[in-house]
Every structure is written in C-alpha cells, then in structure tokens.
C-alpha cells in the first residue's frame, strides 16, 4: 500500500521551479525544492494544516453563535491596503481582509463587505491571483449585495478559488501565509470582542483555537527557516502557543443519534482559559496582528 501526499508530487515542484513559475513581484518568498530536504514533509503538512484551520467564515460564524455583536472597530482599516508592498505582507493581509470580509458578511454589513472585497481584490491582483479573484467577482458580489446567503457563498467560493489557484501554481507558501493571516485576524477579533462580551462560550472558542494553532505552527515550521517572513510568523505563533494550556490527551469518542443526526461525544476538548491566560493571549494576539497590518 502506498501512501500519497496531497497536492503536487515533488517532481512537479522541481519542474515548476525550474521553469520559474509565477513568483510574486516583491520579496521572493521562494524556497528551493531541490535543496529543501523537508519538501515531502511540507507537502504533507500543507494538506493537514488546511483542514485544521477553520475558515474565516466559520470563525465569524462561531463568534456570532457565541453571542458576540458586530464591532467594526476591530477590523483592519481599508486605507492600509496600499501600504503592503512586499509579497509576504500582501499574503498575510489578503488573509486578514478575507477574515474581515467574512466577519462583515456573516453579520450582514453589506457596505463594509463591499469595501473589504475591494481591498482583498486589490491584494489578490498584486499577488498575481486576479484570475481567481477578479473584477467579475466584485461585480457578482455587487449584484448580490442584498442577498446575504448568496454573498456568503460568493465569499467562500472566491477564497476557495484563490487557495486552489495558489496551489496550482506551486505557491503553497503564499497560501500558508494567507491562511495564517486569516487565522490570526479571527483570534484577534474573538479576543477583542471578548473584552466587552466575556462569556464562557466565547472563552471556550478562544481556547478551542489551540488545535488549529498547533497545526499552523507545524505548517510554518516545514518552510525554509531562512525566509524571514515565514520564520517570523512561526516565531509569533510559537510565542502565542506558549500562552495556552497543554493540549489534552486524546480520548475515545462515541457516536449517538439525536433527531436523526449523528452526535460525536467524548473526545478531548481543550481546557478552559483562565483570566490571566485570556489577558496574555489578547495582548499577544494584538501585538502580532498589529505587526502584520502596519
């Protein structure tokens, strides 16, 4: 039985690298697939990490279900979009604006959704992913601006296309930075909202982020550590992880039926966070996130 890696085979990356590919315009963020002995591991981790990181829309949905209200002051200012000249900042902020877009969409703030769509599209264009996120997407969103459900579907579908396009072109590192930016923004929103809406549900959502954080660190760790942007993000995430409690030991789960739907019980949920932990996580997340947007 052979075990397959997701995404492209190593040969594919070697050939793509030899042909130049679609490298970003500013800082390179490239790795040398031939020399990088952890390439196969990176491919495997890339596969894993994508599944472990909740999408920005799911994060926003979890916040809403936890009773949080909409607070536009936590979003990245749209005026910042022109400040991002390096590919790493563009990738991180494509994720950040994507999370902001999802947040505005889930809370049905159409006007802000359109503003954040324009920002995200601007960055997508500068990262050479306009094929996946072009003007026609913006036009489609404009046309459906009063249909929240359609708007959310378009947002999901567009980010899916961007991610797929990046991977199609061997730019998994840009995809990983985009995902990291989106995840950090989601945690930033949750911790900021928790300042005025501190409930057990919201605290648990913050504690739950320990699982995707661990996977995100593994993903970033498999990239070349001589890339300052990627290694910088990994260091940030490592520091953040140190503020959470230790991961729970895996425990057996059970499946029962509830109104015709399977319910998986048991398992091991992350431990609740203390007041001190919450304060430290809130401050650290804000420092990291503000470093990315400024």
């Amino acid at each position: 039985m052979r075990t397959s890696c997701w995404n492209l085979a190593p040969l594919a990356l070697v050939l793509l690298a030899a042909c130049g590919g679609n490298a970003p315009q500013q800082d390179t963020l490239t790795t040398d697939p031939v020399a990088d002995s952890t390439q196969a591991e990176r491919l495997r981790k890339t596969k894993n990490i994508f599944h472990n990181i909740p999408s920005p829309m799911e994060t926003a949905s979890l916040l809403k279900k936890a009773g949080a209200g909409y607070d536009k002051s936590v979003l990245n200012d749209v005026k910042n979009v022109d400040n991002y000249t390096s590919a790493s900042k563009q990738a991180l902020n494509l994720g950040i604006y994507g999370a902001d877009l999802s947040y505005a969409g889930v809370f049905n703030n159409t006007q802000e959704s359109m503003l954040y769509t324009a920002c995200a599209q601007n960055l997508a264009k500068r990262l050479d992913v306009a094929n996946a996120f072009g003007q026609e997407t913006v036009d489609r969103m404009e046309k459906n601006r009063n249909d929240r459900d359609s708007l959310l579907d378009i947002i999901s579908s567009t980010y899916w296309d961007v991610d797929a396009y990046l991977k199609d072109n061997g730019r998994d590192n840009i995809s990983a930075l985009m995902i990291a930016g989106g995840w950090v923004e989601g945690l930033y929103m949750a911790t900021q909202v928790c300042k005025t809406h501190d409930t057990p549900e919201l605290r648990q959502r913050i504690a739950d982020q320990q699982y995707p954080l661990g996977e995100l660190i593994e993903l970033m760790g498999t990239y070349s550590t001589d890339d300052p942007a990627v290694s910088g993000v990994k260091s940030d995430l490592d520091a953040l992880a140190g503020l959470f409690a230790a991961l729970p030991t895996p425990a057996a789960s059970t499946v029962t039926q509830e109104n015709g739907v399977a319910v998986i019980g048991g398992g091991a949920a992350p431990a609740a966070i203390t007041d001190d932990q919450l304060k430290a996580i809130t401050e650290k997340t804000a420092t990291i996130r503000n470093g990315y947007i400024n």
Partner: protein
C-alpha cells in the same frame, strides 16, 4: 531543431502537474461542491490526484455546536473510495463503505475535537495493462452558518 524538441518536451512535462491539479480543481468545484448545499464549505482547496492502492490521511478540527457535513468526492475512474472518520485513539466513528456506500456524513460534536479522515483508493485488480488510472479525490467540509 533538436533543442527545440527538447524544450517543447520539457515545457509539456512541466505543464502536466499544473494541468492535473487545475483539472482536479475544476472537478471538485463542478462535480462536488454543489452537493454540499446548504452547508457553507470550507474555503481551503483540499484535493489531489490519487491512484490505485494509494491512501491519504487528513486531520480536521470540529467545533462543538456546529452542524457539519463531511464529504469525500472521488472521480469514478479510480473506483469506490473507502474513507473513515477516526477519533484521536484511532477508533472508527464512520466508514463510507461499511454498509451501503455513503459519500457524505452529517454530524455534530459535543465538544471541540480533532478527528482524522483516512482515505483508501482500491487496488486496480482488473487492469490487464500497465496503465494506472489516477483520479481526483476531494475532501469538502461544510458547516451550517
């Protein structure tokens, strides 16, 4: 002339993997994504070309209180793919071919937890030729907004 042929060959070979993943993207988007409705599917592209006898494992985090649909969508050329959802101890919670084939599984989790999806592509026992059939396998995770 010889060099031109060589360059053309290199260009063609280097384009193959990209074309394959682009086809995979189109397959998942056109043939699978619609089956996730009314769930909002995860914005991450999770698909690959797999061949006979290959397997893959993927970890996923599920959050308490959310309604999920998990679907593994495979091109028919590679046959009936079996996939399992397992807990952190390796215990199987769902198996797609355990009885009647089920392409998707709808569920909730009582507490937030990390689960694993294990995918097996069947061996191609009928193949009388050297040709191996590779096909796209996509994993889609959707939640109810």
């Amino acid at each position: 002339m010889k060099h031109l042929h060589l360059l053309a060959l290199i260009a063609a070979i280097s384009a193959l993997p990209t074309a394959a993943t682009a086809q995979c993207r189109a397959f998942v988007k056109n043939k699978c994504a619609a089956n996730m409705l009314p769930y909002k599917f995860n914005e991450t592209f999770n698909a690959a070309q797999l061949g006979p006898g290959e397997e893959a494992e993927v970890d996923l985090t599920f959050f308490s209180g959310q309604d999920y649909r998990l679907m593994v969508c495979a091109h028919p050329i590679i046959g009936e793919v079996n996939w399992k959802l397992m807990d952190g101890t390796g215990q199987t919670l769902f198996e797609s071919l355990a009885s009647a084939p089920k392409p998707s599984f709808e569920f909730k989790v009582a507490t937030t937890q990390k689960l694993k999806v294990h995918i097996d592509v069947p061996e191609d026992k009928s193949s009388a030729t050297e040709m191996l059939n590779y096909g796209c396998v996509g994993i889609l995770v959707g939640f109810k907004e």
